[in-house]
């Protein structure tokens, strides 16, 4: 999220779309209800179902799953046509005025694809997706926003067909509600009005997921909300520490701090740095990632300490390399596993047998492994996959190990929430039996693997045996006696590896071993070690910043800057340089996030996005410091499926064609897997209803923890299927009846809940019914099977074109009374 949770209370309008915040992040409602009560804020919910969030909304708009871009495209058109965009913000802080290459073409000109599409490869050559440059190498601009080649005019042209009639026809939403939603959201284009967007998997779990997000990013930039109080881009993250996990590089494509993992052709550090360090010719752009060399070198120094020197590229060659062009994300991983290409697998704190799309494919894939290690609190459908429904243990050769883990209250450490806030937690109780904290399990594994490498040598032992691993006092064998999580945290923050007499940045002197107080002081010459540059400043010589509990709130905006610690540098609202005009005066003085104090030549308020003066002054900088051009990108040339979001139907949809582009029904760059288990259908009378999956407050994820908690299971004991009263009548289904829900991939039973909170919707002349199920259940517990099995038995193994998030929010099903 760009802002803290409390920031919802500062909004004038809150849109909850592609998410269900009351049910899945109930504490957010504390702040949203405050906004409603104290500032008369309006809550709008756009959702296929009338949810517990909708129950508190001022406006609820029903929508067909998978048509978010149609709705949002219509909103973009509405904002532009009615001149409701925040002009000064758009011209100064976005690329709206930039001129695009004359060879760039929009889908309307090419039957549904942008210029550069290769039909055979199902991918784009993006060389036309660029700006026209002037002599100094920076984009040519038209600040009147009239030039037909400027981003603004291209955006307008691209969404010109998304009229309210078209939006209603494709989404099934009523016209008056669409218009009312647009009117309310677009009213925040004024400098003193802000809208925050709260969203989650309802947007990301689609083959067009990344573009769903981009669509609202464009809207927030047009309305000038980013960086403002109450103008947050609020991604509601799903696990308590998933933010921490991505910050620490648990995904295949990133190291800590979102530095990219190298590929094989990144043969040395020089090549890596050259390739991944963005350059810019725009003098007013801070281009913060130009500092990447400091972060990668400091990371290597943290890993390998004194062994990492300038002469050996700081042990860069020890980093594992990906194969060029190969994708190792979840769906690819399980496809490879299904094909028998993976020998061993750690299912660490996860339950893939229930959590990934196409559970049957996943469960069959697990059966192909030689060995499986499950680290979890309870036995689950993954650890026991071999005795699950449809499995014959006699035919399965997988050796399964179970390592019992400690829960979050049984160990000390930090958890990073959606708002980038790292809150340190103490240990409340000891773990039961032999359960161990994950860090200690990893420590054990590391030591034993290291010993094996030292004894038996092997292909490439150095990357393991040369790790510093200074996480506690070591015994005579080099094994850590007591794993100290504080030492991990301190290494994440970083320290000086040698004395520095005069630091070039702040002119101060530092001693070897001192903690680095801020990432601006990290160096690329090996004099600093830092496990994660984003966390630099979280654990300094002043102490553990994450453990602070100060309740002061001088701005009144709910920043609470002395409560715990947020990255980066304890900045609470990021991109806050966009909250002021080029002179440094807040667009909205009543909710000033930062303000330029001309007398003392400094910013006051939240930590500014760089101490440099306001844009219009000498040395001033543009607000979007992570982008090479320094401005917010409306033209998203970095995406694999287009610089502007475009509506394509979900892989499984009720229609033969995409109503906007007959030639391209689905996202033209989506990866289609090809095993016999990767079946999908569309416009198929056997599966005529739109299925979708979601969560409830009472359970969490695949339910491994919550199905074992009696008080929670008591409230929601069984998998249910919500359907509208018309469909129920057609099928002779009453609330409480057992039903069978099936898709092209599998079928499950559920208990029917017939509810007017779902209504049939009219889409392109057809009546569409939605069938919705939670995915919290699994056959392993309750033991008698009364809970049901995972809704992912129904979902397809297909994902977003950019990042492969599985499309669990829109697929086709049938439902019958059992």
């Amino acid at each position: 999220m760009t802002s803290p949770w409390n920031d919802f209370k500062n909004s004038d309008v809150i849109l909850n779309m592609g998410g269900n915040t009351a049910e899945n992040h109930p504490i957010s409602m504390k702040w949203i209800m405050k906004a409603k009560e104290e500032r008369g804020a309006k809550l709008i919910v756009v959702d296929p179902r009338f949810t517990r969030t909708a129950a508190k909304a001022d406006l609820y708009v029903p929508i067909r799953p998978g048509t978010d871009i149609v709705f949002l495209g219509g909103l973009i058109k509405y904002i532009i046509d009615n001149n409701l965009y925040f002009r000064d913000y758009v011209i100064n802080y976005t690329d709206a005025s930039f001129l695009v290459d004359p060879n760039f073409k929009l889908p309307d000109e090419l039957d549904g694809v942008f210029s550069g599409y290769d039909e055979k490869k199902r991918s784009y050559d993006r060389s036309t997706w660029k700006f026209q440059l002037d002599e100094s190498g920076i984009p040519k601009k038209d600040e009147t926003l009239q030039d037909p080649r400027c981003v603004f005019q291209l955006l307008k042209k691209h969404f010109s067909r998304y009229t309210i009639d078209v939006v209603s026809n494709i989404t099934g939403a009523p016209k008056d509600k669409i218009e009312e939603a647009y009117r309310i959201i677009a009213s925040t284009g004024k400098p003193d009005k802000t809208c925050s967007i709260s969203y989650a998997m309802g947007w990301t779990q689609h083959t067009v997921g990344s573009q769903n997000i981009r669509a609202f990013a464009i809207i927030q930039l047009l309305l000038g909300n980013i960086g403002m109080a109450g103008g947050g881009f609020m991604a509601q993250r799903g696990e308590s520490n998933v933010q921490g996990s991505t910050d620490e590089g648990l995904l295949f494509h990133i190291l800590t701090g979102y530095n990219p993992t190298p590929v094989a052709s990144d043969v040395d550090l020089k090549t890596y740095i050259e390739k991944y360090t963005p350059k810019t010719k725009e003098p007013k752009s801070l281009n913060w990632l130009a500092n990447r060399p400091k972060y990668i070198v400091s990371y290597l120094k943290a890993l390998y300490g004194d062994k990492a020197t300038k002469d050996n590229d700081f042990c860069y060659s020890y980093l594992p390399k990906r194969e060029d062009g190969k994708n190792y994300s979840w769906l690819y991983l399980f496809d490879d596993m299904y094909k028998g290409n993976i020998k061993g697998f750690f299912a660490w704190g996860q339950n893939p047998a229930c959590s990934g799309g196409n559970s049957i494919k996943t469960r069959q894939a697990l059966a192909k492994l030689d060995w499986l290690v499950c680290v979890n609190l309870w036995d689950n459908e993954t650890a026991s996959f071999w005795k699950g429904p449809g499995m014959d243990p006699k035919k399965i050769k997988t050796e399964v190990f179970f390592l019992p883990a400690a829960s979050s209250v049984e160990k000390e450490g930090s958890i990073t929430n959606s708002s980038r806030l790292l809150q340190w937690r103490y240990k409340a109780v000891n773990p039961p039996g032999k359960c161990m904290p994950d860090a200690e399990i990893i420590n054990e594994l590391y030591f034993r693997v290291k010993k094996l490498y030292e004894k038996e040598k092997g292909a490439f032992p150095e990357p393991i045996i040369h790790l510093t691993w200074n996480y506690g006092e070591k015994d005579k064998n080099g094994k850590i006696k007591h794993f100290d999580i504080h030492k991990v945290a301190k290494e994440m923050n970083g320290y000086f590896t040698e004395d520095i007499a005069v630091h070039p940045i702040d002119k101060k002197s530092y001693k070897k071993g001192q903690q680095v107080p801020s990432f601006v002081l990290l160096r690329d010459d090996g004099s600093t070690a830092c496990g994660n540059w984003l966390l630099c400043g979280s654990y300094t010589d002043a102490g553990n910043m994450m453990a602070r509990r100060g309740k002061e709130d001088p701005t009144g905006l709910g920043l609470y800057s002395n409560w715990a610690w947020a990255w980066p540098l304890n900045r609470r609202i990021v991109y806050n340089r966009a909250s002021v005009d080029p002179q440094g005066n807040p667009w909205d003085p009543k909710r000033a996030v930062i303000k330029w104090d001309a007398v003392n030549n400094r910013w006051v308020g939240d930590v500014p996005d760089g101490p440099q003066p306001p844009l219009a002054m000498e040395g001033g900088k543009l607000p979007f410091i992570m982008k090479p051009l320094g401005v917010g990108a409306i033209f998203g040339s970095g995406l694999s499926d287009g610089p502007f979001p475009t509506h394509y139907e979900p892989l499984e949809c009720p229609f033969q064609e995409n109503p906007l582009y007959k030639k391209h029904r689905i996202n033209p760059t989506v990866k289609l897997f090809e095993t016999e288990s990767d079946v999908f259908v569309y416009c198929d009378t056997r599966y005529p209803y739109v299925g979708t999956t979601y969560r409830v407050t009472e359970h969490w994820q695949t339910g491994v923890m919550t199905r074992h908690k009696d008080w929670l299971l008591e409230m929601e004991p069984q998998i249910f299927a919500e359907i509208d009263p018309v469909l129920a009548k057609e099928k002779g289904i009453k609330s409480g009846d057992k039903v069978i829900v099936s898709s092209a991939r599998g079928k499950i039973w559920a208990i029917a809940i017939v509810t007017p909170r779902l209504q049939p919707i009219k889409v392109m002349g057809q009546t569409i019914h939605i069938v919705g199920l939670p995915w919290h259940y699994g056959w392993r517990w309750p033991k008698d099977g009364s809970g049901g099995d995972s809704a992912n038995i129904l979902t397809p193994s297909v994902g977003d074109a950019n990042v492969m998030t599985p499309e669990s929010k829109a697929f086709m099903v049938n439902i019958e009374k059992a």
Binding site: M33, T53, L713, E714, M715, E716, S735, G736, A752, R757
Partner: protein, 246 residues
């Protein structure tokens, strides 16, 4: 000490049911094995292990569709019928706070309190055959200067605990209609509503039968007599039930 109470505002309740769980956690009440009966409401009723639950009400009218989440629990009446009818004084109205609590050691499981209650709240342990069980407004927490578990956990402040007078004044200032301000000596649990009680499925004209007071005094007189056996008291209590129900 001023009379204590809860202010419950269904329109800011998000139906998260943290209050259901907090109550069970504080009172160490076990969970029951439940089925999905075609709604999200579970457990389907109050019982000896469920002192408060949220009712999920789907309501459609000319104003549109609403999904209301309404707490179902003891109202802590100012003139509690259960206290009036209880033969042995197991049900007690706390002098200081007005909380209606009970002592299971005194309860003789005669079940006279259930039909007497205008809101049908009392439930009994031992599968419904035993002693009284209901919300006691966390009187143990209150006496220690703490907030009742449900109010403490509620994320939106839909359940608020405090001095009854203050809660009522604040709710009125915000323009809410109050349910329970004056009924039965004023309810300890006051609901702040935006519409008529019927929409929230709150009893519109709750009544205490006139015979409650009569039977209460009869039963207590008999208890005072050493010749009265518990089973005789219970028999008469059941008789009173029929009368009260009429």
């Amino acid at each position: 000490m001023a009379r204590k109470g809860l202010l419950i505002t269904p329109d800011i309740c998000i139906g998260c049911r943290a209050c259901q769980v907090a109550c069970k956690e504080w009172n160490q009440l076990p969970a029951s094995k439940t089925k999905n009966n075609g709604t999200h409401e579970n457990p389907p009723d109050l019982d000896a292990n469920n002192f408060n639950r949220i009712r999920f009400i789907e309501h459609a009218d000319t104003k549109g569709f609403r999904w209301l989440f309404v707490s179902h629990r003891c109202m802590h009446c100012g003139e509690p019928a259960c206290v009036q009818i209880c033969p042995v004084g197991a049900l007690i109205k706390d002098k200081e706070t007005g909380i209606v609590y009970y002592d299971k050691n005194i309860c003789i499981a005669c079940h006279a309190c259930k039909p007497a209650c205008p809101f049908d709240i009392p439930r009994y342990d031992q599968g419904g055959k035993g002693k009284i069980a209901k919300c006691h407004l966390c009187i143990d927490r209150v006496r220690a200067g703490l907030t009742p578990a449900c109010a403490k956990t509620c994320p939106t402040g839909s359940i608020k605990y405090g001095d009854r007078d203050t809660l009522i004044k604040e709710a009125k200032a915000k323009g809410f209609k109050l349910y329970g301000e004056t009924d039965f000596g004023g309810l300890g649990v006051v609901f702040a509503l935006k519409d008529s009680p019927k929409i929230y499925q709150l009893a519109e004209n709750p009544r205490i039968s006139e015979s409650v007071a009569f039977w209460g005094s009869v039963l207590r007189t008999l208890v005072g007599r050493s010749s009265s056996t518990t089973s005789f008291i219970k028999y008469l209590a059941h008789k009173s039930t029929e009368e009260v129900k009429k």
